[in-house]
Subunit: 307 residues, 2 copies
């Protein structure tokens, strides 16, 4: 069974990990958001790619969901002592990844090849692809002005009120090698429970991706449960954009892209509303607290997609 | 008493530390080699400046002479696991310094201001100046071709046979702000027991520096003791360039720049040979094994210079 998953941050990484546990390496391709990538201290930092890869490789910090387990903070402590910016938490092992990625990018290697190399080094043999080797930095329009995503997300801790998003340069971006082929040959495409606005939309905005997904068996899992996001500003963003944060709002967000929608038991009352739009639905427990939860949810989603 | 010291790596740092122990902060200016600075992983690395500052601030690793005490290696281990280059030993705390320096350089701050800021952050109130804010990378000409200094020094561990040196771009380099003023107002200038070829010569090659030193009370301490260097390739370089590595060869190297020369007791038999060239001499124990050795030698050198 060939499956493609679209993933962003922590929720996407958990779902991807669940899928990786129930599928063989050849069956699974994970397409990852690069809109939140940015340069910091001259290093190229790809938070979503790293969160996905760390999670899949068992290197992630289970307490935070981002960054690495067994991390040390010598570099950041030093930067702090020298009066430098410490708002973006760079662990030492995490830094090693950014350094080596930056070195390889400077040598002309495309990001997708670097990710592939890193995955092999970490013993991962499934396919993880950045949606594009090109830059499409997410800018957030807010009541405090427009700002790059990490400034909004980390430095200002999502406090500014959002009015819109832009993925700068996305018109010129091309899907990374293998992206469209993976979608074309997939038996199902799973949109992970990632933030629709800033994790999935940048993926969908890359020219050619939406067209490739059109008419295909695409299934999305709601990142909104009981009106809230498990993690991150998805619910806050819906509200600020004038949309009530509900599972059905997520389904509407993806609109005619979807064949089916997976929502949490807590939102059971929304099932009918979603069904009438022509979508198949699966109501199940979508909260992934443990690795076993991830595996069970992945299994249910795949069974639902196969029906 | 206003003293200027010219310093390169570990020997220079030890001497500078000795001088800092016996002089007040206002009395001492240390001019440091930047010829061995280089870019690695996109970061600006200044090994001599860091060795001097770490040593003065009590942050240096006493076992190695370079790098920091209480260092961790998470980033470098990660880079190694990803197949990246690990020949240059980047500790995590050391990396923090390179990251913050690179960030400040990218923002347009000159290196000398950055060093000044770092020194204050580390509680150092004497003046440490890179000899120049401009780049003058040392290239080493060898029987295996020409190569940047760190490739020769660290990656190839000084194995290639040296035939000459070039400080690329030094003709266009200007002394950092404060360098010429410090020399002009110094009561004595001390050339630390650093490598003459690759630590002191790049300092002297910066246009204006030699002229400023000309006719001034300049004193050099021999880095060659009993035909050997305490650390590093100085003796090997002398030999490969066709010069017997002796204290008097060092004195001749600096030629008419010097008023006096300090050599080790082990080389006492060379004193007369040096004296006949018109130099005053001091024969003493110049090996600095302990912080007390540094202090004693500094005291003796200053007394000698004052005579």
């Amino acid at each position: 069974m060939r499956i493609v998953a679209l993933a962003g941050g922590v929720g996407g990484a958990k779902m991807a990990h669940g899928l990786a546990q129930v599928l063989s390496a050849e069956e699974l391709t994970i397409l990852v958001n690069v809109g939140d990538d940015f340069d910091h201290f001259g290093l190229r930092i790809c938070p979503d790619l790293d969160t996905v890869c760390y999670t899949l490789a068992g290197l992630a910090n289970p307490a935070t969901g981002w960054g690495r387990a067994d991390e040390s903070w010598g570099a950041l402590e030093t930067i702090g002592a020298l009066g430098g910016p410490t708002w973006f938490r760079l662990g030492d092992r995490d830094l090693g990844v950014h350094l080596e990625r930056t070195r390889r990018l400077a040598s002309g290697m495309p990001l997708s090849q670097i990710v592939s190399h890193f995955c092999h080094a970490w013993g991962l043999f499934l396919t993880v692809l950045p949606i594009s080797d090109d830059n499409l930095p997410t800018w957030v329009y807010t009541d405090e002005g427009e700002m790059p995503f990490q400034e909004y997300f980390v430095q200002r801790q999502c406090r500014p009120k959002v009015s819109g998003f832009q993925f700068r340069g996305v018109e010129q971006a091309r899907p990374a090698e293998g992206v469209l082929q993976a979608i074309d040959s997939a038996e199902a495409i799973v949109i992970c429970p990632s933030n629709p606005w800033v994790s999935i939309d940048p993926i969908l905005a890359v020219p050619g991706v939406k067209a490739a997904l059109s008419g295909r068996p695409v299934y999305a899992i709601s990142p909104i449960i009981g009106g809230k996001a498990i993690k991150g500003p998805a619910a806050k963003m819906f509200t600020e954009l004038g949309i009530r944060p509900t599972a059905s709002a997520v389904a509407r967000h993806y609109a005619d892209l979807l064949k089916g929608f997976i929502l949490d038991c807590q939102d059971r009352q929304e099932e009918e509303e979603i069904k009438v739009t022509g979508l198949r639905t699966l109501v199940t427990d979508t909260v992934m607290n443990t690795p076993l939860d991830r595996q069970r949810l992945a299994m249910e989603v795949l069974r639902f997609a196969q029906q």
